[in-house]
Symmetry: C2
Subunit: 303 residues, 2 copies
Amino acid sequence: MIDLCTLGTGGALPLPDRGLASLYIRMNGHGLLVDCGENTQTAIRKIGWGFHGIDGLLITHYHADHCGGLPGFLLSMAKAGRTEPFPIWGPAGLKRVVNGLRVVAPQLPYPVELHEFGSEGVTFRAIGLKIQAFKLEHSVTCFGYRFELERPGAFLPERARALNIPLACWKVLQRGEAVTLEDGRNFSPADVLTESRRGISFLYATDTRPVKSIVAMGQGTDLMILEGMYGDDEKMPQALKNRHMLFRESAALARQAETKALVLTHFSNCIDDPEVYLDNARAIFPNTRAAQDLMTITLGYEA
Amino acid sequence: MIDLCTLGTGGALPLPDRGLASLYIRMNGHGLLVDCGENTQTAIRKIGWGFHGIDGLLITHYHADHCGGLPGFLLSMAKAGRTEPFPIWGPAGLKRVVNGLRVVAPQLPYPVELHEFGSEGVTFRAIGLKIQAFKLEHSVTCFGYRFELERPGAFLPERARALNIPLACWKVLQRGEAVTLEDGRNFSPADVLTESRRGISFLYATDTRPVKSIVAMGQGTDLMILEGMYGDDEKMPQALKNRHMLFRESAALARQAETKALVLTHFSNCIDDPEVYLDNARAIFPNTRAAQDLMTITLGYEA
């Protein structure tokens, strides 16, 4: 199971009760953040998931609403006793931006590892998830992230018995490793597992116009978290000018991607209550919700 | 009258309902901020005093809890339509720090004017207040600020009449300017005003050990706002190590300075409720209060 928490759901500017962009992903006691807008360290205290389990940060782009909370967050991690290296991934400019912001947090009891990737994006693994960064189309270079928890095939005990594999080796094969027995016989996981099953996948893409990469990466996911910068269709001129999306444009991407659910976040401060405009999205993709600060979502395997 | 609002009262780290250091000073529709910790832009939205009237920012030192909110604050000022230059005062390092933080807010529709002062501090005027920066003793260079609204003498109409000064000139003299009449006679404000009267003065000093400069600058003020990093006397080792003060140390400074009132702020996140330790300060200086986020204080002239 994967728990998500939309720590902050504001875009550009906060509201009194709406912090700036950050998503907390938690799985098996490990965690990742996507973006770190101002208020992130406070929101993490509010949700109570702690700083200890956060194993890395992914940044989408370098506007202040997505990384202005970095110095305070890094200091909170220090206060929580971190000594292990802390990795941060982000597009070109990562070193310049993190080093700039760290002018007020120069000394930390742990090293910060910067993984800057190029315009082609990057695929890597962290906390057991396969992560793909893919390019969006905003006023500055910006990336979305797709996350996947792969699920191995089901174990077939009848087949293991038929092959006379000792019980002690079942778990090894089950977790995807090959075994060699004392009698010289070799077995691979494929000998005792079904085909790999559908895992869990979700996508996070904010600060963009609608682009094909979002549909391609969102194909068949369990959840797409997309920006809901403007709810009112009349805001199209602003959406075009500022390279953002209307609720209905995000909903159209979700429908094309045939995802299971859509959550809108990153609301302009001109939107007091996103629910007011939600029908604009639901008319196109019915299973749409508006995020709130500290809203949690749990994604599990299909039955 | 001067209105003060303790926008954020946390020191080092925030709590779920306690933001980081910032004080909003408002007088006659103009305003100044002292420090700009994370959450400042949100707190300004909450108090509703607006961004329009903020004419400058004074920074005490460059720890993240005192200036981490700067990029977001500058962007909020931009969104509020500011085009006039915005001045920031601070000790040596100001340019390096502001330019570092502005890596995520590089483009603003107004110029930012940086007034960096040296180890001797600085005296200047802004929004009608005389402001003195004075050195504190922290783990890094840190300054306190004393604010004074001077009050001219009272106008003596009987004296103006006796001198046969035309009524049209009374207001000019009253506001402190000399006049020359058509018949060649000259008058100065002293001709028609009493000695200058007691104005309004207050002081803000956080992140320091107790030093004499605080007592000297606080002498006879209406209010001293001092740090209350640690409430419990048993925290003395931490206070010495981290160059902070106990509640009782701040209270002793207030007593020595013979100020009228003391407000404690900048609470360590180990203090859930400052009220618990308030008697430690009140035993030494009875008129002590603990600040809360968004608490307002109004200072007026003596009757």
